[in-house]
C-alpha cells in the first residue's frame, strides 16, 4: 500500500455570517493523498476547493475534522509550522524584492549555503522560463510572469506538501503546454506531493494523477482522469469533466426483450437484449425514466440507425467538431478526420452500447458505463 502523506478526515468548513445563515463551504470531506502524488481539486467557483486548500495551508480554521500531514496532526498549527509550500492565486510577490529574491526568500532563512540557493533559483527559473526577469521587480513584469515567479517561489522550497492555487490560469496559451509538461516532470521526478486547485478541467486532466471533483462543498468523485472520463460517478462529474462536455438527454427506458431508450422529442436508441450485458440491465432495473449520455468522441458519424440535421461543422486543424440537432438540443461529435457535411444537410450517426452511459433521472447517480454496471 502506498504511503499516505496527507489525510483529511470528516473536515467541515462553516463560514459564519452576521445576520445571515451560516454557509457550509466544505461538508464532511474525506481524502487521502499518497506520497509523490499530484492531486487536483476541481470544481466551479464556490464549490469549496479553495476553502479546502486554505484549510490545509492553515489560512482558514477547520470547523470540524482532522488533517494529518506526514504523520503529524496539523489542523491546529500555524501555517509556518506545517512545512507546506504554497503558490497563491493572487501571486502575492513581495513588491520591494526582485523576482530572484522573492524566489530565494524561504531558502535564505534555512541553512542552505548561498551558492546552492543561487543554483536552485536559477534552475527553477529556467524551468519556468523566467530567467530573463530574475532581476526585475514584481511591478514591472506581466501577469503571466508574476504567476510563474510565484510558482517558482513555492517549488524551490523543500516541503512535505506543495499547494498551488490556480497555478497556470494567467499564462499565455502558447506557453501552457510546454510548462505543463515541465511542471509535471519536475513534480514526478522529485516526488513532490502536490495539490492544486483549478476550475479548468483541461488543466486538471493534464497534470493530475487523481482529481477530486467538488460541487457545493461535497466531494463528488476522487479518481484518475481516465476513471473520471470513462466511469463518472454521477451526472455532475460526467458533464463537468471533458471538453466538449458529455452529451446528455432525458429518455424513457424500456428494459424488456429489447432495451430501448426513447429520448424525449428525439431518437429512440434501440438495442437487442443480447447486446446489453445483464449487469447493465439489472443496474437500470425497472426505471422508466433515465438520463443517457455519450461522449462527443464516441459518436460514430457517417453511418447508423439515426440521422439528424447538421447545425455546425467546425474544422479546427487537428480535429472536427460537428453539432447535430437532436431533441431540441445539440449533440456534439468530435472526429479526428475532416467530415464532409455542410450545415443544413442531414448526417447519419450511431451510438454503440459500449459508448452509452446511463444515469438515474432523479439522483443523477451513474447506473452504467458502456458495457459495465457502475
Amino acid at each position: 500500500m502506498a504511503e499516505i502523506t496527507l489525510a483529511l478526515e470528516n473536515v467541515d468548513k462553516i463560514y459564519q455570517r452576521r445576520g445571515k445563515a451560516p454557509v457550509r463551504a466544505v461538508k464532511a470531506l474525506n481524502m487521502a493523498i499518497e506520497a509523490g502524488e499530484i492531486v487536483a481539486l476541481l470544481g466551479s467557483s464556490g464549490c469549496g476547493k479553495t476553502s479546502t486548500l486554505r484549510m490545509i495551508a492553515g489560512f482558514e480554521e477547520v470547523s470540524a475534522g482532522k488533517i494529518t500531514l506526514a504523520g503529524r496532526r496539523i489542523e491546529q498549527l500555524a501555517p509556518a509550522k506545517r512545512n507546506v509550500a504554497m503558490a497563491f492565486e493572487g501571486y502575492s510577490l513581495y513588491p520591494p524584492l526582485t523576482v530572484r529574491n522573492n524566489i530565494a526568500f524561504a531558502l535564505k532563512s534555512s541553512a542552505m549555503p548561498s551558492a546552492q540557493i543561487h543554483s536552485a533559483v536559477q534552475d527553477v527559473a529556467a524551468l519556468l522560463e523566467i530567467e530573463p526577469i530574475l532581476d526585475r521587480y514584481p511591478s514591472s513584469i506581466s501577469g503571466g510572469q508574476q504567476q510563474r515567479a510565484s510558482l517558482a517561489r513555492a517549488l524551490v522550497r523543500s516541503a512535505d506538501l506543495y499547494l498551488l492555487d490556480e497555478p497556470m490560469g494567467q499564462l499565455e496559451p502558447q506557453l501552457r503546454a510546454v510548462l505543463r509538461g515541465r511542471l509535471k516532470n519536475l513534480l514526478l521526478e522529485r516526488r513532490m506531493t502536490s495539490i492544486f486547485v483549478t476550475h479548468d478541467q483541461t488543466e486538471a486532466n493534464a497534470l493530475a494523477d487523481r482529481i477530486a471533483v467538488m460541487e457545493d462543498g461535497v466531494l463528488q468523485q476522487f479518481a484518475g482522469p481516465r476513471e473520471l472520463k470513462d466511469r463518472p460517478a454521477n451526472l455532475f462529474v460526467a458533464t463537468f469533466v471533458g471538453e466538449p462536455p458529455m452529451n446528455v438527454f432525458d429518455a424513457d427506458a424500456i428494459n424488456a426483450d429489447r432495451v430501448r431508450f426513447m429520448v424525449a422529442d428525439g431518437p429512440a436508441l434501440d438495442f437487442a437484449a443480447s447486446d446489453i450485458p445483464t449487469g447493465v440491465r439489472s443496474a437500470i432495473g425497472s426505471r422508466s425514466r433515465v438520463v443517457v449520455g455519450v461522449r462527443p468522441h464516441s459518436v460514430r458519424l457517417g453511418a447508423g440507425a439515426q440521422d439528424a440535421r447538421v447545425i455546425s461543422n467546425q474544422w479546427l486543424g487537428d480535429q472536427t467538431h460537428i453539432a447535430l440537432e437532436v431533441a431540441g438540443k445539440l449533440l456534439v461529435a468530435v472526429s479526428h478526420a475532416p467530415v464532409a457535411a455542410k450545415s443544413g444537410e442531414r448526417l447519419r450517426y450511431s451510438i454503440a452500447p459500449d459508448a452509452l452511459h446511463v444515469f438515474d433521472a432523479s439522483s443523477g447517480a451513474a447506473l452504467s458505463h458502456g458495457l459495465e454496471a457502475a
Binding site: A177, W315, G317
Partner: protein, 364 residues
C-alpha cells in the same frame, strides 16, 4: 460592392501605433474574424468602424457610403461588447429595445421584434429582469439580442464569448454560426481564441503588430500560414519550431535533429543553404516505441492528456524540446522513457529565419 470596407486605416495612441495602414473588406453575409493576441488592436479596429473612436488616417465605408466622419448613431450597426455593456438601470427588455427606440417602430412592433429575438436566444423568460439579476450567460445573450434586434446589415461582435464560462462558451460557439447566417448580416467577429476563429470565420484576418499578417480562409491560415508568427497562433499545443540550415543530400533537402537526418519534400530543394525555421505541428509527429525508417531517437519526458488527445513532451538527442500529440487513449500505454519520433513529411512548414515568412514549396 463590399458591405464593409476599411481602407488604409491607422490609429495611434500617444507613441504607440495600434493600427498601421490596414485595409479589409467584407462581403454581404460573410463572417470575417479578426484574430490576434491580446493588445493587438482588434477592439480598437471595431471601435473605429463603430464610430466611437476617431481614426488618424484612412477611410471606412459601409454599404458603399463613406462613413468616416459619421456619428455612431448614423452608421446603422449592431454591436456586442466583451463586457456586455448592458444598461444597469433598465430591464433586459428595455436594453434590447433600445436599439429600436431611436427609430420609427411602433410600440407593438418593438414588442414583437424583441420577443422574437429573445426567443431565438432563449432569454424570453428573463426579459423583465434587471441586468444584475442575470447570469453571465444571460447577460451575454441579452447583449447579442440587442445587437441583432434591429436587423443591422453589419454586425460587430467584440469577443462576446470571452467572459462566459467554458461550458456555455462551447455551446454558444456551436450555435453562433447558424444564428449569424440566418440573420444574413455581414459580421466582423473579434476573438483571441483560434478555435473560435476557425469555427466561425469564412475568412480570418490575423492582426499582428498593427498589420494584417494574413487574411485567408481557416484552411489556408492553418495549412499555409503566411509567417511563423501566424503559424504559432493556430493549434494547441503550439507548432514546434526548429531553427536549422538544411543541406542537400542526394538531391533532397535535409536537416539535423539530435544527430539524425530528417528529409524535407523535394519541392523544398531551394531552401538548402538558407537559414530557415522548420515548423512541425504536434499532430504531425508520430511517436512509437519501435524504430521506423526516417525516425530519430527521443526521450518521452512527460505525458499529459488533453481532451481525448495525449500531449507528449519529447527531448531529442541535442536537448531540444518537442511537443507531439496523438489522438485517443495513448496515455494508457504511453510510458516515459526512450522512444522514436518521425515527422509527417508533407505537413512540414518552412519559414525564412530572418523575416519569419513562409517559404512555399516549388513544384518542378
Amino acid at each position: 460592392m463590399a458591405q464593409m470596407a476599411i481602407e488604409r486605416v491607422s490609429k495611434r495612441f500617444k507613441t504607440n501605433t495600434v493600427l498601421d495602414d490596414v485595409s479589409l473588406s467584407a462581403e454581404t453575409g460573410e463572417i470575417v474574424v479578426v484574430f490576434g493576441p491580446s493588445g493587438s488592436g482588434k477592439t480598437v479596429l471595431l471601435r473605429l468602424i463603430a464610430g466611437v473612436e476617431d481614426l488618424d488616417a484612412g477611410s471606412i465605408s459601409l454599404q458603399g457610403k463613406d462613413v468616416t466622419n459619421a456619428a455612431p448613431e448614423a452608421r446603422g450597426l449592431g454591436m456586442a461588447f466583451q463586457n456586455f455593456a448592458l444598461f444597469p438601470h433598465m430591464s433586459a427588455f428595455d436594453n434590447i429595445a433600445s436599439a429600436l427606440t431611436a427609430g420609427a417602430s411602433s410600440k407593438s412592433q418593438i414588442l414583437s421584434k424583441v420577443e422574437a429575438v429573445a426567443r431565438l436566444l432563449k432569454i424570453g423568460h428573463v426579459l423583465q429582469h434587471a441586468p444584475r439579476e442575470l447570469s453571465n450567460g444571460q447577460k451575454q445573450r441579452t447583449a447579442l439580442a440587442r445587437a441583432l434586434v434591429s436587423d443591422p446589415r453589419i454586425l460587430l461582435l467584440d469577443d462576446p464569448l470571452r467572459n462566459v464560462d467554458a461550458k456555455l462558451r462551447y455551446e454558444m460557439r456551436m450555435e453562433l454560426p447558424s444564428l449569424l447566417k440566418t440573420s444574413g448580416s455581414t459580421v466582423l467577429y473579434v476573438t483571441q481564441d483560434y478555435k473560435e476563429a476557425m469555427a466561425l470565420g469564412d475568412r480570418i484576418a490575423v492582426l499582428l503588430d498593427g498589420k494584417f499578417a494574413q487574411v485567408a480562409t481557416p484552411a489556408q491560415v492553418y495549412r499555409e500560414p503566411a509567417s511563423l508568427d501566424v503559424a504559432r497562433l493556430f493549434g494547441d499545443p503550439t507548432v514546434n519550431v526548429i531553427p536549422t540550415t538544411p543541406t542537400l543530400e542526394n538531391g533532397l533537402p535535409v536537416f539535423d535533429i539530435g544527430g539524425a537526418s530528417i528529409a524535407l519534400p523535394s519541392s523544398y530543394a531551394h531552401v538548402a543553404g538558407r537559414a530557415c525555421v522548420v515548423g512541425v505541428r504536434p499532430e504531425s509527429i508520430a511517436v512509437s516505441e519501435a524504430f521506423a525508417s526516417g525516425a530519430f531517437p527521443v526521450e518521452v519526458v512527460a505525458v499529459t492528456p488533453l481532451n481525448e488527445k495525449s500531449v507528449l513532451l519529447l527531448r531529442a538527442g541535442d536537448g531540444r524540446e518537442l511537443l507531439a500529440s496523438e489522438a485517443g487513449e495513448g496515455e494508457l500505454t504511453r510510458r516515459r522513457g526512450p522512444a522514436c519520433a518521425s515527422f509527417d513529411r508533407d505537413a512540414m512548414l518552412v519559414f525564412d529565419a530572418a523575416s519569419g515568412l513562409r517559404i512555399a514549396p516549388q513544384s518542378h
